[in-house]
Symmetry: C2
Subunit: 315 residues, 2 copies
């Protein structure tokens, strides 16, 4: 059956919302709530019913009000608000990165399903979607082979990344002065400066800023394939940041300065400078990533004999 993560997340978000509104405040209409929480009215009504049950809101049809603010302890645990697919992805990536899973390892649906406690269907769905990241490969009727997070992977990834980002950065530099992107990049520049100021305490916040920065560059010349590719980058970095804490503050500080130089180059509209700044930054990002890969080897898949099994660590 379908899980109710949508309901649980909406319920938790509603608790925040009523705390924000304060006791006595009138609630928005069901449709307005749905739009705000990003769920259908069906789910809104379920949440509202649960809240009325807890005595958090009064149930009167057309004039619902906040009656009491619910204790944070009454919230659903965060783990229960994460969609199954995302959970599977996280566990799989952790296994691959943390345990440095070896290229050539067989990944098998049944065993993954057992270890993650889900039906095989969900695992299949995940693997099929995950395939596009280039880290696994399907052999029809015979499971999946891990290609692995190797330095080859990182090199190929960054070759394309550079190709794409140079293209986008050139387009950015040629943007008409009236383009709203100029304001956005100026705002990002200021965010960078603020972060640099408090780098000792807030260096973790760089990951998100990095993501927004590169997406903004790509927005100069939208292309669905570039955007899709950037999702691969974002995914890799998302997990990589969580896993490789070595020199994190230092690395992020360097990257921030590179971003600032990159932004300056863009605002100068001097294509040669833009290209140089872009290349410099990507080269150092590549270095960082490669240092944490397993190595170059892509061991050919062993056939005919029992292959090493994927051992994702149990929950």
């Amino acid at each position: 059956m379908k899980s109710d993560v949508v309901f649980k997340r909406a319920y938790n978000d509603s608790l925040d919302l009523i705390a924000e509104l304060g006791v006595g405040a009138a609630l928005p209409s069901e449709n307005a709530l749905g739009a705000r929480l990003g769920v259908s009215r069906t789910t809104v009504r379920k949440v509202l019913a649960a809240l009325a049950d807890k005595g958090a809101v009064s149930g009167a049809p057309r004039q619902r009000r906040v009656r009491a603010v619910v204790q944070p302890t009454q919230r659903f645990p965060d783990a229960e608000t994460v969609p199954l697919g995302a959970q599977v992805e996280r566990r799989f990536m952790e296994w691959m990165l943390r345990d440095n899973a070896c290229p050539g390892t067989a990944v098998n649906e049944l065993e993954l399903a057992r270890q993650l406690g889900t039906a095989t269907t969900s695992i299949r769905e995940f693997l099929n979607r995950f395939q596009r990241f280039g880290l696994i490969e399907k052999r029809p009727n015979a499971g999946w082979i891990l290609k692995g997070f190797t330095s080859d992977f990182a090199l190929e990834l960054f070759e394309i990344r550079e190709l794409f980002e140079l293209r986008s950065a050139r387009a950015f530099a040629k943007l008409p002065p009236a383009s709203p992107l100029w304001r956005q990049i100026e705002a990002l520049r200021e965010e960078h400066l603020r972060l640099l100021d408090e780098i000792e305490q807030r260096f973790h916040d760089f990951s998100d800023l990095d993501n927004r920065f590169h997406r903004l560059i790509n927005a100069a010349l939208p292309n669905r394939f570039v955007e899709d590719f950037y999702e691969i980058i974002a995914m890799i970095f998302h997990y990589h940041y969580q896993w490789n804490k070595q020199d994190e503050r230092q690395r992020n500080e360097v990257a921030i300065r590179e971003h600032l130089a990159y932004i300056d180059a863009l605002t100068s509209r001097d294509v040669t400078r833009v290209e140089a700044a872009c290349r410099t930054h990507l080269a150092s990002a590549k270095e960082t990533l490669i240092r944490s890969t397993a190595g170059p080897a892509a061991v050919p898949p062993q056939r005919g004999r029992r292959r090493r099994r994927a051992g994702v660590t149990p929950a």
Copy 2:
């Protein structure tokens, strides 16, 4: 339950094989047959048992021989040897291209499943894999939206294609003279000349040649993301060739000449010439593709109201 397309295809292929060997010839060992047919020994034995049953091969243990060549009418129909996923893809693409399905149309799993006569699981799997082609988009918990085969799609596709192919072609031109790829491209050049010679009768064969030509260029500097992207191109052209027959002979002849100029540029190792030839060819391919698209519009998805349904034509 699992379908037995693997068995049926292997069986058909075996019929071809025994016809090729001729009556009286000794059959290869089970393992050798498995390697040749691309299936496991389990399936080989099933096929062999079926063939013995038909009297096509003698069942004697270690000296199996071809006894009779089976009539082509005894083969399994081709439709039964196509994996479900491929069938779904074909039907879906035909619907989109032939019926010029409108961007913004909702694609719904249940209805597709009903129309194609499969379980919804298979449809989901297909849609998840198909997503990477950039023609559909998922809205979690709420089905899929067709982005459609629009001119925007073609433009974005060709922007990346040019970026990638210029990169590969430059690398090709710089290949050391000892590289085996030089021999391969020379062989392809001759194939092009032969095809040009018989263009009136054989213009259909260009599609396959085109595919092999561009893959060879990409092989100059292997990169999994470039290869993955080329699968999108190949898929689009595969269906496009089947669907748009207008001026086919003429178009293919032009393309062959462009390929020949491109190959000459490569063998000259003059990067400027290579780039020019590559751009010329891709520009004309782009033109062809764009002429058969629906138009630029990407209608925003309608929400809250029943959207137009995807009407894939029944089997």
